[in-house]
């Protein structure tokens, strides 16, 4: 909200620079977001008379004007068209400087010399308006200083009014705050005006059919008005406040709204059918065209102002085009009403239509204000548009509420604020804020809450008033208290942090992607999960249309993006949440997942950098990380089973298990997918559930006796068909070996002519150890024999001797 300080000073006296005032306001609850100095640097500018003009010979959109600057006539080229001969306008003569620093010099525009410049409001820094040059009254003599005519310079405060303080959405509301801060009195304008002729009640009837939505409705009728521009002082204040002047009657309603916070609406009384106002809910499907020219379909949740036949306004939001004030308007029905906050908000949201009026009503407008505002507006309309006001007012007030009383216990002030505030100071603050102290004893006081302070409902609200007026800088920094409650169980968070640190220790970089993703991105990954996708009803864009059901799609994207930024070697992980909709129940689900992605020579020493990365390298590198992770985080060994996944290469995709618990899927990215990103090396990806990986924290660890007797290590080498897996060999060895076999380690794989086509040679070291004695070579040889026999028998292995 913008407020010119000069307007504020009409209602309250204070001695302070704009900066000092801004500081006081900011530290008492109304943040000053900006101090705008309007009209500074206009010193050299004057009023020029446009004596006559013609079209520029070489440019259709330019005019050649003869401007009189008070002493002589000058030729000036101008691009605007909003003037006629004899108008007076803002004129920058040669040598003058505009507020934006531009210096006016004699220059040629399309071949014709221009001796100065006729200025628009934005060029003067007065507003954002560039619709035409700034015109002043025709009675102003040419040559007058522009600053004198405009009443400038002005300082305008830009304020952020919090949602609860609707009473501050006006100049008078802010003046009331300033008066409380500076200990001065609030001065309200006189709202008396002459009334004559018929009584309003004879000219208009008002019925409220939805009293739960309309707390009060007042109507006045003004007749014999003459539409025209509003006075310059009013236009100036409207513009400084960011409102465009339109015509005298409409300007008055806007001016009074800015002044006191009560939205007003003026109907052309001749266009109100049956001269009656009915405040009712719209009928479902009922239509109406609002002032902005949009035809709207209404629902029965919306409140309308109707005449005898049809809706003429959307209550509290916007007037209707059908009863709008026109140039020919003579009689006006002036509405000053109070509509409920939730209903106004819902209507505004449902129609996507917000206005200065709805902005105020949905934060709450004091119903007690309606009549004062109506009088103030009537007085100003009569003053600026002539005519006469009918006698009296129609005032239907179903929502009148009794004044609220709230008690403040002094001990509670200290309890909440941590400071002692003297009782006298507390009462002084309340009185300054018009929270009249009605009774008081040693324990506390009871105040009567004025109707405009809709936000003050309970004791804590009163204590907040004390805090902000007394000054939050008074609150000391108390030392940290050492008392500890039993506390919330936060072991999962700490386990999660350890998991993250382990992944970093394994050499991976943590990434973070959005929870949203594009539908097409999922489709490209071959997803057949459309029914499970959690599609956002109101996404910010189609790129963020779905809550991600997997971390893998973005992991691939991240790897690809890095590749295109010339990072060819990378190992990433993300700990993030995925989301879905249960296809059977419709329930929404979410869980944490871990994704890992690796490409290029990640993990390999530099000196080996040029050696090609094989699919085995990448898969086994990823597997190594998963093995460590699985053992460390679950206490169990990793197992893999063949699997299929839309984005993974067939034959290179596995399910990951910790013992029997399924963790997720790992594998190599499909070649076609990585080639879209011009990634030539294999890409390893995995996605795992997080919960099983957090068991490390809960895992029981216990000591086992360290072996006391030495181990014997023997080797066995065998040749088997390619189809025989390492896992099968180990299983066969384990099954045939006694308990003394503690470790089986694969240390060599060899293929070649000596082995034969379709076969491979593998070499294992076998470690035997007994817990209660030193083993002999003979015993170990016997163990070897059993194992060799089993390998030959079950796997048809050829044992390589020596």
């Amino acid at each position: 909200m913008k407020i010119p300080i000069s307007w504020l000073k009409e209602y309250v006296d204070f001695e302070a620079t704009p900066e000092e005032l801004a500081q006081r306001l900011t530290f008492s609850g109304v943040e000053v977001e900006g101090i705008h100095r309007i009209g500074e640097g206009l010193d050299g500018l004057i009023v020029g008379e446009i004596v006559r003009f013609e079209k520029h010979p070489d440019a259709d959109k330019l005019r050649l004007c003869v401007v009189h600057d008070g002493r002589m006539e000058l030729q000036v080229v101008c691009g605007a068209t909003n003037f006629s001969s004899g108008d007076k306008a803002a004129f920058a003569p040669i040598g003058a400087k505009l507020p934006n620093g531009m210096e006016i010099s004699k220059r040629k525009v399309r071949g014709i010399e221009s001796h100065g410049m006729l200025c628009a409001e934005d060029e003067l820094g007065v507003s954002q308006d560039h619709g035409g040059i700034l015109l002043v009254g025709r009675d102003v003599p040419a040559g007058t200083s522009l600053v004198d005519v405009l009443g400038l310079p002005e300082v305008v405060l830009e304020l952020e009014i919090t949602w609860n303080r609707s009473d501050c959405l006006s100049v008078i509301g802010m003046a009331r705050e300033v008066a409380a801060l500076y200990g001065t009195a609030l001065r309200l304008p006189d709202v008396a005006f002459p009334e004559s002729g018929a009584a309003v009640a004879e000219l208009a009837r008002v019925a409220i059919e939805a009293p739960e939505r309309c707390l009060r409705y007042t109507a006045r009728v003004l007749t014999g008005l003459k539409a025209g521009p509003s006075p310059a002082w009013m236009q100036r204040r409207l513009k400084l406040s960011g409102v465009r002047p339109i015509s005298n009657i409409v300007d008055v309603t806007n001016y009074v709204m800015l002044e006191c916070g009560q939205p007003l609406h003026a109907f052309d009384h001749a266009l109100v059918a049956g001269r009656q106002i009915i405040v009712r809910r719209a009928r479902a499907g009922e239509g109406m065209t609002t002032l902005d020219g949009v035809a709207r379909t209404l629902s029965d949740e919306m409140l309308v102002i109707a005449d005898g036949q049809k809706p003429v306004a959307l209550a509290g939001v916007m007037g209707g085009a059908g009863s709008e004030i026109r140039e020919a308007t003579q009689d006006v029905l002036l509405e000053s009403a109070s509509f409920d906050a939730p209903g106004t908000h819902r209507t505004s949201v449902a129609l996507g239509l917000a206005s200065e009026s709805s902005h105020r009503f949905e934060r709450g407008v004091d119903p007690e204000l309606a009549d004062w505002a109506s009088r103030r507006a009537a007085a100003l309309i009569v003053q600026t548009a002539g005519g006469a006001a009918a006698r009296g007012v129609v005032d239907v007030y179903p929502g009148k509420a009794a004044a609220r009383r709230v008690t403040c216990r002094f001990a509670r002030v200290r309890a909440l604020l941590g400071i002692d505030v003297a009782v006298e100071e507390i009462c002084r603050i309340f009185e300054a804020l018009e929270l009249h102290v009605e009774s008081r004893n040693a324990e506390g006081c009871t105040v009567r809450v004025p109707s405009f302070r809709r936000d003050v409902e309970i004791e804590a609200d009163l204590i907040e008033e004390i805090a902000r007026m007394h000054g939050l800088e008074q609150v000391p920094e108390a030392p940290i208290r050492a008392t500890m409650g039993a506390g919330v169980d936060d072991s999962r968070t700490w386990a999660m942090m350890r998991l993250r640190e382990r992944l970093i220790g394994l050499g991976l970089r943590e990434i973070l992607n959005y929870s949203f993703m594009a539908e097409k991105q999922l489709d490209r990954l071959g997803g057949d999960d459309a029914a499970r996708r959690l599609v956002l009803p109101n996404p910010v864009s189609s790129d963020y249309a779905i809550m991600r059901p997997t971390l893998l799609a973005q992991m691939v994207l991240t790897l690809g993006n890095n590749m295109s930024r010339q990072t060819a070697d990378a190992g990433f992980f993300e700990l993030g949440r995925v989301f879905w909709r249960d296809t059977a129940t419709g329930a929404l689900g979410e869980e944490d997942r871990l994704a890992i992605g690796m490409m290029g020579r990640v993990g390999r020493s530099q000196i080996e950098g040029r050696r090609a990365v094989t699919p085995e390298d990448t898969f086994l590198g990823l597997k190594g990380i998963l093995e460590i992770l699985c053992r460390a985080q679950t206490g169990q060994d990793l197992h893999m089973e063949p699997a299929e996944h839309g984005i993974m290469e067939p034959g290179w995709c596995v399910s990951i298990l910790a013992g029997t618990t399924r963790l997720g899927t790992a594998g190599l990215l499909r070649r076609a997918l990585r080639e879209e990103w011009r990634i030539s090396d294999p890409v390893g990806v995995a996605e795992l559930a997080v919960e099983p990986l957090l068991q490390a924290a809960a895992r029981k660890r216990s000591f086992e006796t360290i072996p006391a007797y030495p181990a014997i290590t023997h080797d066995v080498a065998l040749i088997v068909p390619e189809a025989v897996t390492h896992e099968a060999i180990v299983a066969t060895i384990r099954a045939a070996a006694p308990l003394e076999l503690t470790d089986v380690t694969l240390f060599d794989i060899f293929r070649g002519n000596t082995v034969g086509d379709g076969r491979k040679s593998l070499a294992y070291s076998l470690v035997y150890r007994s817990g209660d004695r030193t083993l002999t070579d003979d015993e170990a040889n016997r163990f070897d024999g059993a194992i060799r026999q089993a390998l030959k028998q079950h796997l048809h292995a050829e044992i390589r001797e020596g």
């Binding site: 800088e473 108390a478 109101n538 910010v540």
Partner: protein
């Protein structure tokens, strides 16, 4: 032997030791000059016969003979041993072979640091789901359904059933939490006071992405409910956090504000850690940086979770993790945090 003769023997012995080609040859030199039957005992014997001033000179030369020849023999032996064992010189400046440059994301770094700082002050960590009910996210937090933060322009509503959004109000619909405050509600519902928690987590608001806005972001909120907790405790806690997080010289100040769930409510500024409050580009020349929203828990919130607002008071605060990361590390654009450029991530190793 006089002193000059001893000195020339010294030079001769040192030269022979230096020229010896094998360890055996060095040993032969040692025996010849320093051995029990070598020249050294003869020199020492000669010293006994010497007289007067001659004796002093011979003594000094004899000492020099002993130390210099011993040193020459040891040095030659060491040189021969080294030459045999070392071969070519090892270049330890080569790159190491173990390469795995892991790094924590700056958002996680800030959360981890904040969690540790608050844990030292007695705060436990609580987390909750991203998909929330309007009750936990708004109603229990004393936010009426006509507050603009509920609008579909601000909040991601997830729709009713599979049908999408109904008309407002949306109570039947779930939503993506706009703050981590619903975790406070969940914790207060399940734990009696006193309670002291912080709630880090991901939140969602329908902001259009630009340099300072992101439709998903992270928050850390805190809640402390106990006997006689006051605004002064809040200030002390946040001041302590400010010093540990941003630097020992950083202070805090409160400005009055409004939040539906706290009363009184304040906005919290930290003094600028870059310019120490003098004013610079980072703090937009004000000396202060807005960091958090906070206040005393509204008694109506206590009413919703069944806490006795007469017996207990409490404070709550909330701050944006990305914002802190940007301020602390000087990151100019929030989007950098979600682009996952390895060159960016590497800066946080």
């Amino acid at each position: 032997m006089n002193a000059a003769e001893i000195d020339s023997l010294t030079a001769q012995a040192v030269a022979e030791a230096g020229a010896a080609g094998t360890a055996d040859a060095v040993e032969a030199v040692r025996i010849r000059y320093l051995g029990r039957k070598g020249l050294l005992p003869q020199i020492m014997a000669g010293l006994k016969d010497a007289t007067g001033q001659e004796r002093g000179a011979i003594g000094r030369s004899a000492n020099a003979f002993k130390t210099q020849v011993t040193a020459a023999v040891d040095a030659r032996l060491a040189a021969l041993r080294g030459a045999i064992q070392q071969g070519p010189v090892f270049d330890y400046t080569r790159p190491g072979a173990w390469r795995g440059p892991g790094s924590m994301h700056p958002v996680s770094l800030v959360i981890a640091e904040a969690v540790r700082i608050f844990a030292r002050m007695g705060f436990r960590v609580a987390e909750g789901p991203d998909i929330e009910t309007p009750y936990n996210n708004f109603e229990a937090l004393n936010t009426p359904d006509y507050h603009p933060s509920l609008d579909t322009t601000d909040t991601f509503w997830l729709g009713v059933g599979a049908a999408g959004l109904a008309a407002p109000p949306y109570q039947a619909s779930q939503l993506l939490r706009t703050q981590t405050s619903p975790v406070q509600i969940r914790m207060m519902q399940s734990h009696p006071p006193p309670i002291r928690i912080i709630t880090p987590g991901r939140c969602y608001r329908r902001d259009t992405t630009d340099a300072t806005h992101s439709a998903n972001f992270h928050q850390i909120e805190g809640l402390y409910v106990d006997r006689q907790v006051s605004l002064a405790d809040l200030k002390g806690t946040l001041a302590s956090f400010a010093r540990e997080m941003m630097g020992s010289g950083v202070g805090v100040r409160f400005r009055p504000h409004f939040f539906p769930f706290t009363e009184p409510s304040v906005e919290v500024d930290f003094s600028c850690h870059v310019c120490a409050g003098k004013g610079c580009r980072v703090c937009k020349h004000s000396g202060w940086i807005e960091i958090a929203g906070a206040g005393m828990v509204d008694p109506r919130v206590f009413g919703k979770v069944g806490y006795d607002a007469e017996a207990w008071t409490g404070f709550a605060f909330g701050m944006g993790v990305e914002r802190i990361a940007m301020i602390k590390y000087g990151i100019p654009d929030i989007r950098l945090l979600y682009e996952n450029d390895a060159r960016f991530l590497a800066q946080f190793e």
